[in-house]
Symmetry: C2
Subunit: 308 residues, 2 copies
């Protein structure tokens, strides 16, 4: 099978750190173009200022990876899907749930593959954690996701704008893992969201969920943690404790600990290639739905202004 001719749209940190190396390492894909309003692209690969320009006068493409901020993603996605271009959406798949539903409709109509990716689901410990939890009784879950926004999102103004999610930008990674490994659905009972006085998005959140069997799930989400960073999910079960740490990379079970090298984006692109080959879509909006629920029902608290 000829490699899938792919373009990467939005050459920010995540595209350069993860997408370009993963595409280069996967023989199922060949990078034929990059798009970004600013900057230079990649040596030897045609570069365009906009997706419009690429589609008008660039090389033919079969697929595109959208790595732009969520607030501008929908228009680009709709433009590509209308031409039957297979789409890899960075997380979150859109700024709103309704626009993602609209994209699903377009993908169905055009026959293109739509992949709403959640990279954390491809962390090394996640698949074995899911297998181990299947069928177990869940007694209690603690999700702790505390990091330093100044380290991970330096100067990224869009993340503090409406639709930018604030601390839910990392928090949605935790939710993408939890919704994937826990055997029951869960939903919000109460939440407090802390908004800096000068920002439109939260810097911290404290959330209580409950699964359909009544097990409590507590989530502590904070962007003000300096020093060691914490990305842990601890699940108490009838067979003992499971701890998934380092954002899903390290899995500790009662009888063993597993750690493996990072392969999130390699896994994502392998999955995208398989979806394209089989003509399927993979769009699970559950993590974004839980975030929307937190904004809908959470109590808001104003906290100290945040300056980059």
């Amino acid at each position: 099978m000829a490699p899938v001719r792919i373009a990467v749209v939005g050459l920010g940190k995540i595209a350069r750190d993860q997408h370009l190396p993963a595409i280069a390492a996967n023989p199922a894909f060949t990078l034929v173009a990059t798009v970004s309003r600013e900057g230079d692209g990649v040596p030897g690969v045609p570069h365009f200022q906009s997706l419009d320009q690429l589609l008008e006068r660039g090389p033919a493409i079969d697929a595109a990876a959208l790595c732009t901020p969520p607030q501008v993603r929908h228009e680009l996605a709709a433009m590509a899907l209308a031409r039957g271009t297979h789409l890899f959406l960075e997380k979150p798949p859109g700024a709103t749930l309704a626009e993602v539903a609209a994209l699903q409709g377009m993908a169905q109509a055009s026959g293109a593959t739509l992949f709403a990716s959640w990279h954390s689901r491809f962390a090394a410990g996640v698949a074995p954690a899911r297998s181990w939890l299947a069928g177990r009784r869940i007694d209690r879950v603690q999700i702790t996701w505390r990091e330093d926004v100044r380290v991970w999102h330096p100067g990224q103004a869009w993340i503090w704008e409406p639709g930018g999610l604030g601390v839910f930008d990392p928090g949605i990674n935790a939710l993408s893992i939890a919704t994937h490994i826990l055997p029951q659905r869960f939903f919000l009972k109460s939440a407090v969201l802390e908004f800096p006085a000068n920002r439109a998005a939260p810097i911290a959140a404290d959330m209580h969920f409950c699964d359909t069997h009544g097990a409590p799930i507590h989530m502590d989400l904070d962007w003000r943690q300096t020093g060691p960073q914490t990305w842990d999910i601890v699940v108490e079960t009838d067979a003992g404790r499971l701890t998934l740490s380092n954002g899903g990379a390290v899995l500790a079970l009662p009888d063993r600990t597993e750690r493996d090298e990072d392969r999130e984006y390699a896994g994502l692109y392998a999955h995208f290639a398989a979806l394209i080959r089989s003509g399927q879509c993979d769009v699970d909006v559950t993590p974004l739905q839980l975030v929307a629920d937190a904004f809908l029902c959470g109590r808001r608290r104003e906290v100290e202004a945040f300056e980059d």
Copy 2:
């Protein structure tokens, strides 16, 4: 077929004004119990302080209508569905999207009918409006929903609490109509939500949506309108203007105006009976999804405190 033995849970204004008369007028149902923490129920019908008590020592029921505030609806709904009781949910179907998804899963598992009702969809002008718009090109939509909260929700504290939706409590009625009559999906582009300084829910919202063909949809939602009230949807099309006013009761088309008596709850209960007979569910969360999107992505503005 024997009448469906139904209980009404939550005897607030909507239950007394609408549900009880509609059930009394429909021979497919017989009211066998009422539930509310306070008050007296209905002469001649067994009354219980809680759904627990009804299920433990009350008469057998086949169905229940949940008319409690959305913040406490899920627990009652789950309790009823677990026993295979058919459920009629007042709008909105829950405080969160994820809890409604969980109820859908439970209904599927138990074989019970779950009906997430949107009463405005049963207003007299809505079905003919939907038929008239099918297949037309939509150029522009204006939704104006302005009412006086002091008249319609006097002293209802829950409506201002997180999960109570504020002005989206009436606004979701407009969205339930718009999502039903417009031929294309639509999604949020931008929103400004106005929160009184002393309240956790918005008193007004200004929203710009866009449908999948690019048509702009503007929504003006306000709870501070004294004097005449406005519940209008105006749709400009390639065949002229459609105006749905009085909350869906009056339909004006280029060549005629239709007005009919109010039959929303009669229509809802006829539909619920048909769903039970055919073993189906009707759960469309699109209106609640659009509201969640507005909270997720809308810009927030603080306005003057509101006192009842």
